[in-house]
């Protein structure tokens, strides 16, 4: 079932208030998204923990209701220039 980008952003922000979030609807079908999340909460955490925080924010929707979410996470100070 498709999910709106704004809803994904709302859920992430509710759990990680300082997050800078960029969401791209990859296929234009509301079902394949890419998200980039930057937050100070990620500082000092490995990539697995960072992704787990985002998955937890989305409350079990990833892999179910939200089929495809490409995810990139970073802490502000380690952020690479894109």
């Amino acid at each position: 079932m498709p999910m709106a980008a704004s809803e994904i952003e709302r859920l992430i922000r509710a759990a990680i208030p300082d997050a800078r979030i960029e969401i791209t609807d990859l296929a234009g079908d509301g079902d394949h998204y890419s998200a980039r999340v930057v937050s100070s909460r990620f500082a000092g955490l490995g990539r697995i923990k960072q992704h787990q925080l985002v998955y937890a924010a989305l409350g079990g929707r990833v892999g179910g209701e939200l089929h495809a979410l490409q995810l990139q996470t970073a802490a502000p100070e380690t952020e690479k220039t894109k």
Binding site: R47, I48, H51, Q52, Y55, G60, V62, G63, G64, A68, Q70, L71, Q72
Partner: protein, 105 residues
């Protein structure tokens, strides 16, 4: 531990590099699994794969085992490395080459 959990522990313990995926390396059944295979092949790594579509218990079990909601999942020497996004990041930064003990190519 349930059967599936001990089966998974056995698989990740016995294989240095193992990818839990949807489909097979020749016929991946999902874009993320396909991307994971492309990365491993690009590095010339020798790896095992487990097709989770062949076994519903493993398919559900691996999510709990890793506390990770999606497949593919890469394990190297018993340690969970991540899904295809993390593999891609580590490939681009050269960390994956180092972890797998292959030359950057």
């Amino acid at each position: 531990m349930s059967d599936a959990q001990s089966q998974i522990a056995d698989i990740v313990g016995k294989n240095d590099i193992v990818l839990f995926m949807k489909g097979t390396p020749l016929f991946p059944q999902c874009g993320f699994s396909s991307r994971a295979i492309a990365i491993l092949d690009r590095l010339g790594a020798t790896y095992e794969t487990i097709d989770v579509l062949q076994d519903p218990d493993i398919r559900q079990g691996i999510k709990a085992y890793s506390d990770w909601p999606t497949v593919p999942q890469l394990y190297v020497r018993g340690e969970f490395v991540g899904g295809s996004d993390i593999m891609m990041e580590m490939f681009e930064s050269g960390e994956l080459q180092q972890l797998l003990g292959v030359e950057a190519g």
